[in-house]
């Protein structure tokens, strides 16, 4: 801006004097007063130090590494390289050790799950050991989820990571169990159970739940178990068959669809299981007669819808059906209020 208007500006007295050789000392004195403050100076020094040491630090490291090699024969250089490799490897062990305590979301967690654990897994020889190791790992994942949840750090990302790993451990577990004899697998008590980690948001808080899920086929095969379930799921039935007579037909239609879906794929959530347990109660009697095929179940259900619609027990097991129907009618009103919530969950 000065240059823009410089031509137009007239020289003031002081400048005139200056151009005539007077007042120079004043100018110089004024120039001299201007210095860096202590903090400005030290701040800049610090900046420069960092700048300088960054470069020389690298250069020094390079010189230190390169210098011995230049002086040594090839064989000496090779042995020195070996020593350096050992030192680096021991550094790696340090990292690996440090990673043992890491949790999902931390840098070293990948080291732990991708490097440490598979390497330790390689040390397991027999399928038995390997299966046990897979079980140990899935338990570790649970503990990690536990720890994260305690610190309130169990986010969606972390839980997905843990779930993925658990799934992988279970695949391993199943694979090694197949190789191993059944007795051992039974001893582990794992063949019939699957462990599922489920994270739900409730009241804005992240909670985690671990529940054991039975394999569907298992349950079908095991009639006794079914009966136990029936008694256990009396309450669940409340939520299943609570509808009024008006809606009965629509409801049953929906249920049929639901059931088909369930039959198509494995239940993956507890609520589905609740439903199924409820159905199991209804189904139990026909099942005992008609066998345990799922197609049979469906047919039975259809028949049942008809029977409850018409109000007359025309089914094979008359006694049980009557009991059940009456039970349902009684419980309908109580349970109706809760049905919506249960569905939402």
């Amino acid at each position: 801006m000065t240059s823009l208007i410089g031509n137009k500006k007239s020289m003031n007295e002081e400048m005139k004097k200056l151009s005539e050789g007077k007042g120079e000392n004043e100018l110089f004195a004024r120039l001299r007063t201007e210095v860096l403050t202590l903090s400005e100076k030290s701040e800049m020094r610090l900046f420069l130090r960092r700048k300088v040491s960054a470069k020389t630090g690298f250069a020094r490291a390079y010189e230190m590494l390169a210098a011995p090699f230049r002086m040594l024969s090839f064989r000496q250089a090779a042995s020195l390289s070996a020593i350096i490799a050992i030192v680096l490897a021991s550094g790696g062990i340090g990292v690996a050790k440090a990673s043992e305590q890491s949790l999902p979301g931390e840098v070293l967690y990948k080291v732990k799950t991708v490097i440490n654990e598979p390497i330790l897994g390689l040390l397991k020889r027999t399928p038995e050991e390997k299966a046990l190791w897979a079980k140990t790992l899935s338990e570790r994942r649970m503990e990690e989820a536990d720890e994260l949840a305690v610190f309130g750090k169990l986010g969606e990302k972390e839980s997905r990571e843990i779930e993925g790993l658990i799934e992988k451990h279970h695949e391993d577990l199943e694979r090694y169990e197949d190789e191993d004899d059944d007795d051992f697998a039974n001893a582990l008590g794992l063949q019939s159970e699957k462990i599922e980690l489920k994270i739900e948001t409730r009241d804005g808080k992240k909670e985690y739940r671990i529940h054991e899920r039975e394999e569907r086929e298992n349950r079908k095969e095991d009639d006794e178990r079914e009966k136990e379930d029936r008694s256990a799921s009396e309450e669940d039935r409340l939520f299943e068959n609570e509808d009024e007579e008006d809606d009965d037909l629509i409801r049953k239609e929906e249920k049929k669809e639901d059931r088909k879906k369930i039959d198509e794929k494995e239940p993956s959530e507890k609520k589905v299981e609740l439903k199924k347990q409820g159905e199991a109660v209804k189904r139990s009697e026909p099942e005992s007669d008609s066998g345990s095929k799922s197609e049979g179940d469906d047919k039975d259900e259809e028949e049942k819808t008809d029977s409850s619609g018409s109000g007359s027990g025309k089914d094979d097991g008359g006694d049980d059906d009557e009991n059940k129907d009456s039970g349902n009618d009684e419980e309908d009103e109580e349970g109706s209020g809760d049905s919506g919530e249960e569905g939402d969950n």
């Binding site: 000065t2 208007i5 200056l18 004043e26 120039l31 210095v35 300088v52």
Partner: protein, 174 residues
Amino acid sequence: MTKVDLEKSFFELYERESDSLFRFVFFRVNDREVALDLVQESFVKLWEVLSSGRAIDNARAFLFRIASNKVIDRYRKVKEYSLDLLAEEGFDASLEVAVSIEEGIDMKEAMKALERLPEKYREAVWLRNVEEWAVKDIAKHLGESENAVSVRIHRGIAMWRKKIRDGYDKPDRE
């Protein structure tokens, strides 16, 4: 010279010259923050050159030349910027002139005039008058005889006065 020695002499230069360089820059840009930036950039640049292994006879002179170039670059940028800005905002020059006439020494003009001196004169004038070095030390620093330095100082001052007059009388060259 090893890296360590180089580093040491670089920081000796910093301790010795940072104030001086800051003054040198500050009175040209008239902005403390800008001056600090330019001084720092100048030292960084000097270090880059030094650490690249290039031999520099006179690190101090080199440092001041770097700074001088940076100031000129800065002027150029500011000028472009303010011209653009003025064009946009509709600038009334007469108002600005009225404000910019001040009493006392116009440091910016004085420094601009000094800047136009040939480097060997400027260096001598600056060291003698602003930094108050003894002629003997300047001679040693510049690698000249004391006589030659004295002559340079006197000529430099005379040239400077003339430049100041020129700055007002003649059209601005910048």
